[in-house]
C-alpha cells in the first residue's frame, strides 16, 4: 500500500488518520486556567485550546474546532503529549516541534509526535501542523492575540 501512495504516506501516516477520525481530548474544558484561539483565515482552520495548570503542571488540556486531517491530528497528538507535563517542558517541546516541522530535526526523539515530521516535505501544509502548537503557546504565555501560522 505504501508503494501505491508514495510520498503521501510520509505525510499521512496511520496514526494521523486515527487521530483525525477520533481526536483525543476533543471538548471544551471546564475550569480552564488558560485558553487561546487559533485561526488560519486562508484555509479556515480554527481551534480553541484549553489548559488547566495546577502547581506549574498541565493537569488537563483539550481542544475544539475544525480543520484538515493534519491540523486535527496535530492538535490531538499535542494534547496527549503535554498532559501531565510541567509548563516549562511544554515550552521546550513547543520549540522542538517547531524545529521539527519547519527546519531540521531536534537532537532528541519526540516519540509519537515523530509521525508529524513528514509535514516538513510539504511546505504548503506546515501551517496546518503548527497551528495547534502556536495556540497552546499563546494560551500558556497568556498572549492575547489569536494564533495564526499562515
Amino acid at each position: 500500500m505504501s508503494g501505491q501512495f508514495g510520498d503521501l504516506r510520509e505525510l499521512y501516516q496511520e496514526v494521523i488518520f486515527d487521530h483525525n477520525r477520533r481526536p483525543r481530548n476533543f471538548r471544551a474544558l471546564e475550569g480552564a486556567t488558560h485558553q487561546a484561539d487559533g485561526h488560519n483565515p486562508l484555509c479556515g482552520d480554527q481551534l480553541t485550546v484549553y489548559v488547566r495548570v495546577t502547581d506549574g503542571v498541565v493537569e488537563e488540556v483539550s481542544f475544539i474546532g475544525h480543520g484538515c486531517a493534519i491540523s486535527t491530528a496535530s492538535a490531538s497528538l499535542m494534547t496527549e503529549a503535554v498532559k501531565g507535563m510541567p509548563v516549562d517542558e511544554v515550552e521546550q517541546l513547543f520549540n522542538d516541534m517547531h524545529a521539527m516541522l519547519t527546519e531540521s530535526h531536534p537532537d532528541r526523539d519526540l516519540g509519537k509526535l515523530e509521525v508529524l515530521s513528514g509535514v516538513r516535505e510539504f511546505p504548503a501544509r506546515v501551517k496546518c501542523a503548527t497551528l495547534a502548537w502556536h495556540t497552546l503557546h499563546n494560551a500558556i504565555t497568556q498572549a492575547r492575540e489569536i494564533a495564526k501560522t499562515e
Binding site: F5, G6, C43, D45, Q46, C68, A69
Partner: protein, 420 residues
C-alpha cells in the same frame, strides 16, 4: 445547465488548442500537469507570451509622450488594445474602457471615484451574497467614509440569488447594485440582464464583476445595459496585472479622478490642474503597456477560437464532471444552480478540502481548495471551504478522469473505500 453532450463537432473544434499552451507540456511531481484551477488564473497561449516578449524586443517606449516614432508606435499598440477590449465587451466606444490592474482595481476605482463623490448617509448599496471579497471590501471602505449602508441579496440552497428578496430590497434608497456575472465559488451564472433592468427601474446603477464570465461566454454590455463591467486579463488567457473597467461614458465623464499623476491631466499649475478626458482621466502614471499588448493578443486568441465554441466545450465538461464526480460516494456538490459556467465546487465527506488539494497535487492535478475569497458565502453554506475544479478551453474529459481517479485515491488513502 444548458450543456449538451460533447458533440463530435465541439471536440473537433477545440481539439488541438492544448498544444498552444507551452506550460501544459510540463510535469508536476512526475505526473502530467492536469490544470483545473482556471478560476484562479488561466494558463497563457504562446501567442500571448510571444506578444509580450515581442513588445519589449521591438516596440518598447512610453506612450502619449515622445514625438519620436517608437513612442507613437507604442501608443498605437496601447490604443489598439483598448479597441480590442471594446470589441470583447461590445462597448459603444473605446473611450468607455479604462485599463486597470484587474477586476479588483476596477471595482476600487468605481467605489473610490463614483462612490465617494455620490453616496450620502442612508444610501444603500446592494451586494449579492455570493460576491468575491473584491466586490465587498471596496464598498465597506466607501460605506465607512460616506455613511452609506450595505445590504446583502440572499442566496438559495442551490446557490442562486433570491430574486424575490432582491425585488423587495430595491427602493429609492438603492444607489448601486454589485453582482458577479458568474460566481467564482459556485459557477452560478446570475441573471444580470434582469438584475440590471430591475435596478434601473429604481434609478440605481449596476456594477457587474465579470472576472469569471469573460473567458467563458460572449458578453455584450450594451445588450445587458449595464453601467459598469469589470474583468481581469489573467483569467482570460492574458497576463497578470492588467484588466479593464467598462463604464458608461456619461457616468465616467461625471466621475472625478481617483489617482493623480502624469497622463491623467490636461494642464497643471500649482494653483489648479485640469484633467484629461475619459478614459485617460482614470489612468494616472505609465500604464502596463506590455500587459495591454498581451491582453490584446489573448482576446484575439479567444475570438479566433470562438467564445461560443469555448462556452459549449466547457458546458460539456461541467456536465461530464457532474456525472463522473456524482458517482463518488460521499461527494456533495455545493451550488446546483440551473445556469452554471465552467466551475464545479464540492466537498467530500470525511476528507477536508485541503487534504484533497495535497493528494490531488501529488497526482499532478491542480485544483483550488478553500474559501475562494468568498467567506460570507462559505458561512452561508456552513462550510470552511470547498474543493473547486474550474475549466478552460484546453481541458478535456481525460483531465476530469484524472480528477476522479485522484479523488478515489484520496478516499482509499483515508480508509473510506468500503463505505460505498
Amino acid at each position: 445547465m444548458t450543456a449538451a453532450a460533447p458533440t463530435r463537432e465541439t471536440v473537433a473544434e477545440i481539439a488541438g488548442h492544448a498544444g498552444d499552451f507551452p506550460i501544459l507540456g510540463r510535469t508536476v511531481h512526475g505526473r502530467r500537469l492536469v490544470y483545473l484551477d482556471n478560476g484562479a488564473t488561466t494558463q497563457k497561449p504562446q501567442a500571448v507570451i510571444e506578444a509580450e516578449a515581442r513588445y519589449y524586443r521591438e516596440s518598447n517606449a512610453n506612450i502619449h509622450r515622445g514625438v519620436h516614432w517608437l513612442s507613437q508606435h507604442s501608443t498605437d499598440l496601447y490604443d489598439a488594445g483598448r479597441e480590442r477590449v471594446r470589441s470583447l465587451l461590445n462597448a459603444a466606444s473605446a473611450c468607455e474602457i479604462v485599463f486597470t490592474r484587474g477586476t479588483t482595481e476596477a471595482i476600487n476605482l468605481v467605489a473610490a471615484s463614483w462612490g465617494r463623490s455620490q453616496l450620502k448617509p442612508g444610501d444603500e448599496i446592494l451586494l449579492s451574497g455570493m460576491e468575491h471579497h473584491s466586490n465587498i471590501v471596496p464598498w465597506q471602505l466607501v460605506a465607512e467614509q460616506t455613511g452609506a449602508v450595505i445590504r446583502v441579496i440572499p442566496v438559495t440552497d442551490d446557490g442562486e440569488l433570491e430574486m424575490q428578496a432582491y425585488a423587495e430590497m430595491l427602493s429609492e434608497r438603492t444607489r448601486l447594485v454589485g453582482v458577479c456575472h458568474v460566481s467564482n465559488a459556485l459557477g452560478t451564472v446570475n441573471p444580470v440582464a434582469e438584475i440590471i433592468r430591475m435596478a434601473h427601474a429604481c434609478g440605481a446603477l449596476v456594477l457587474v464583476d465579470g472576472a469569471q464570465a469573460v473567458a467563458h461566454q460572449s458578453v455584450d454590455v450594451q445588450a445587458l445595459d449595464c453601467d459598469f463591467y469589470a474583468f481581469s486579463g489573467h483569467k482570460l488567457y492574458g497576463p497578470t496585472g492588467i484588466g479593464a473597467l467598462y463604464g458608461r461614458k456619461q457616468l465616467l465623464d461625471a466621475m472625478p479622478p481617483w489617482q493623480g499623476g502624469g497622463d491623467m491631466i490636461h494642464t497643471v499649475s500649482f494653483e489648479r490642474s485640469t484633467y484629461a478626458e475619459t478614459p485617460q482621466k482614470f489612468e494616472a502614471g505609465t500604464p502596463n503597456i506590455a500587459g495591454v499588448v498581451g491582453l490584446d493578443a489573448a482576446i484575439a486568441y479567444v475570438q479566433e477560437v470562438g467564445l461560443d465554441t469555448i462556452a459549449r466545450h466547457e458546458a460539456a465538461l461541467v456536465e461530464y464532471a457532474t456525472q463522473a464526480l456524482g458517482q463518488i460516494p460521499g461527494l456533495r456538490f455545493i451550488g446546483q444552480a440551473r445556469e452554471r459556467a465552467g466551475i464545479v465546487s464540492f466537498v467530500l465527506e470525511g476528507i477536508h478540502p485541503h487534504d484533497l488539494g495535497t493528494i490531488l497535487d501529488m497526482e499532478g492535478v491542480a485544483i483550488r481548495a478553500g474559501h475562494h475569497c468568498a467567506m460570507p458565502l462559505m458561512t452561508r453554506f456552513g462550510l470552511p471551504g470547498t474543493a473547486r475544479a474550474s475549466f478552460a478551453l484546453y481541458n478535456t474529459q481525460e483531465d476530469i478522469d484524472a480528477l476522479v481517479a485522484g479523488l478515489n485515491k484520496a478516499r482509499q488513502l483515508f480508509g473510506l473505500e468500503h463505505d460505498a
